[in-house]
Amino acid sequence: MPAMRPLERLNDFVVKFANVNGSGSASANGLFARSALRMGVPVAARNIFPSNIQGMPTWYEVRVVESGWRGRRGGVDLAVAMNPETWAADVAELESGGYLLYDATRPVNAAKLREDIVPLGIPLTGLCHEMFSDPRQRQLFKNVMYVGALAALLRIEPEVIEKLLGEQYAGERKAPLLDANRAAFRRGYDFATAELPQIGLRMERRDRVGDRIFVDGNSASALGAVYGGATVCAWYPITPSTSLAEAFKRYCSRMRVDPATGRHRYAIVQAEDELASIGMVVGAGWNGARAFTATSGPGISLMQEFIGLAYFAEIPAVLFDVQRGSPSTGMPTKTQQADVLCAAYASHGDTKHVLLFPEDPTECFAMGAQAFDLADRLQTPVFVMLDLDIGMQDWLTAPFAWDEGRALDRGKVMTAEELEAGRDFGRYLDVDGDGVPYRTYPGTHAKRGAYFTRGTSKDRYARYTEDGPAYVDNMQRLLRKFETAKDLVPQPAIEGAAQPTRAGVLWYGSTGAPMAEALAALEARGIHLDRCRVRAFPFADAVADFVAAHDHVFVVEQNRDAQMRALLVNECGIAPEKLVPVLHYDGAPLTARFVEREIAEKAAVFNVVPLKRAAG
């Protein structure tokens, strides 16, 4: 029989809530995460949910982490087991010495528990039956009641949670709800205080959160689109991108309404499919409005033909691709970075597209806005590559910032005055040598500047031609334009290891969440790695230089086929053996434990560990 040693941890533990989808638990679980933040203790929280509306298991994992690590840790210290269906798995997942909070209205068979965990029973159903008569309320208020019990057990200041409830249910209309929530919270708190033992997990007030905000990447991207001047959004519902378009609507209804008339400075169309979404975006972009769509991998597949048209006809468009488990329907509610190649080379023929890789919601906002400047400046589709982990999870992240003096960059648009003055206009004429031509908005000038946009080949003056040299001339200019993009896109974040090293590690997007923690752990084991976080495609020269400066570079990403590695090999002429893939693609967010283990194993093979240390 394993010895029972209850866990003792301060501001550093994992709580996992096991619920039934549709039982109203999300709001209570979020309340718990926010209470830690209000106590000044950082959290990393993740919702783990099925592709289902009601009745299937769902989990919410909160890592209370004073050190501020952003990734999942792995393992669970306290489980709130509210779903009988997943009980066995939830109990099994607990660390030895962990705690199990459960509904003890009916006695639980001892065989269903473990001897090396601490059971904490609270008759949630019974207490709710005493307090409420409405069946829906009896179900719903169990959630906030267990938050009350957790507050007592973990020593969260109850005033913090009561204040959060007050903010959530502000206003006279919501007053009865506020009262009921408070009462249920108090009942749970009082029961745990009186009836449950003290436990070894504890939260204590700190000042480690600062001015950071708690927000999901889809909302941040939508807000970025508002600040980036987007006026047309055409979209088709698809998990996990749906909340991006919905957030755009929410923000626009607050920030983009003409105060004098109440009319909208935006248009949002829920299209009939993804083909129509991207078609509308292309039409609006052609006509001088900033337009975007939000979608996921299956949508990108459907949009391929239009993406090729926008590339070849040079029409600005912004696509937010919130990646999910693929291929096909795949795992719609799980995360992956598996659209990298599909987006980079979207459509038939020779195409290359600008991709941006935000690492967190703060960058979703910044890149979400910047994408529109880039699309206009480069007159081409720009992809913002989120994934479910960034898009749908709330992250503790740096606040959004906007430079008041910043003007939207509309790119090279020839005006009526310039046309009137007799300036030569060739829609595909490379006047400045950067591969980027001038365009005109339809309706600009009565006699000059009109041109015909087409997917067929054309000359520098947009006249239809099937002449080989004219076609090649145009395709070469598109390559020059892609070179120009290199300097305009976000540059990589490169950082040296604590000690000089011949090995490096490269990653992008949400993979960054556990990297700092994993690299600290590797450093403690004597494995030093220089770091390169890729933030965009086309790759800046600094990315190829980074790889060239090292014997081996681990490329950490969340797909089966090492897609970023393939893109690096293909675009930078890198010898494949220099890039060592570290791949995680089961749909769950990456953990620091996984990255540490994988790199440590591979590093041993490549003698990354300094020889004297390895010998010692």
Binding site: D211, E305, A446, G455
Partner: protein
């Protein structure tokens, strides 16, 4: 097609419209379609209609999909921006363009393959959204550019040039448009310019989704005996229900209904179309009876032409979106970017 370039010199006595433009200002480069193609007659009708309406050519945006019909925007309105998009997807591109700038006049050009086969979904949705535009289907029942395959509007039993018979039911875009909520639905014949020009003019002046289905025989692949889209067949089976006169708003409108089978429909801009009825029983403002009539004539193998349905009181997509009067593509940074103070409030709400 002809290889002769159009003369650049204009005769000084060419008639000018209210804006001082001649018909030449509404033309484009010479057509590359087959000689005698019905589509070229439609292009000529479009040129005539826009000339007579005295619309500044550069204020028109002409969009199309792929196919013979979709090539034609090159051949008219040379001073307008044009967009030859992808097969069957013109409606979405036009919708987006319309959202970006509500001040331009949108002309969508499509064909039966483009609208009824690959693009049926987008055709349906642009009609139900009430996008303010004129959608012209150059309908020949056949794929010309790929040399003679049936399209989805080919009548059941009609024969291809190669001798095959079409066994599938045809899609009637006119009937479809009426059921989907289009507010101006007409059918013309490329061989009858006198009827077609007023139909196009009225469609352009109409606010909302206007469709003109134009039967346009394909001289290369669908003008033989056995085809129901040939010149001979349409001329022999044309049931014209009415003729139109478009009257700009400066002419006084006396009465809504006039004697002698004339019905007046007032347009949103104050202008009016006068419908001269050929068939006294046909009322294009009555949706239900119009549909019954269309179906009955179709059963009888006839091609009904004229203004088939009109509803002048509907709002367009911009009304539904409640967008500002200024085109969205002309809004200033100050109107678009909420600024750092607003952002600070968002940040505060997320702590």
């Amino acid at each position: 097609m002809t290889y002769l370039a159009k003369p650049k010199l204009h005769h000084p006595s060419l008639p000018r419209n209210a804006l001082g433009f001649t018909r030449r200002d509404y033309e484009g480069p010479v057509s590359t379609l087959c000689a005698g193609c019905g589509h070229d007659s439609i292009s000529a009708a479009i040129i005539q209609a826009f000339f007579e309406l005295a619309i500044p050519p550069h204020r028109v945006a002409k969009l199309s999909g792929i196919g013979c019909s979709s090539k034609t925007p090159t051949y008219f309105l040379g001073q307008s921006h044009g967009f030859n998009s992808v097969h069957g997807r013109m409606p979405s591109v036009l919708t987006g363009a319309n959202l970006a700038n509500r001040d331009l006049i949108y002309l969508g050009i499509s064909g039966d393959g483009d609208s009824a086969s690959i693009g049926l979904g987008q055709f349906a949705h642009i009609m139900r959204r009430g996008v303010n535009m004129t959608y012209i289907v150059e309908n020949n029942g056949v794929y010309g550019l790929t040399k003679g395959q049936f399209s989805a509007t080919a009548d059941k039993g009609s024969k291809s040039k190669a001798g095959y018979s079409n066994e599938d039911e045809p899609i009637d875009l006119v009937m479809l448009a009426v059921t989907l909520g289009a507010t101006f639905v007409a059918r013309g014949f490329s061989g009858d310019k006198g009827q077609l020009v007023p139909l196009i003019k009225a469609a352009v002046q109409h606010k909302g989704a206007a469709i003109v289905d134009v039967v346009s025989p394909c001289v290369a692949f669908n003008n033989h005996p056995g085809s129901t889209k040939s010149y001979d067949y349409v001329r022999a089976h044309n049931d014209t229900v009415n003729f139109l006169d478009y009257m700009p708003e400066r002419e006084p409108i006396v009465a809504r209904s006039e004697p002698g089978g004339v019905q007046t429909v007032v347009l949103h801009d104050g202008g009016a179309i006068r419908v001269r009825r050929v068939d006294e029983s046909y009322d294009p403002t009555d949706k239900v009876s119009a549909m019954a009539y269309l179906e009955a004539r179709r059963e009888a193998g006839e091609v009904v032409t004229g203004l088939l349905f009109v509803n002048e009181c509907d709002a367009d997509l911009h009304d539904a979106q409640n967008t500002v009067g200024v085109p969205l593509n002309a809004l200033s940074d100050a109107e678009l970017v909420p600024g750092s103070a607003a952002l600070a409030k968002v940040n505060a709400s997320l702590r």
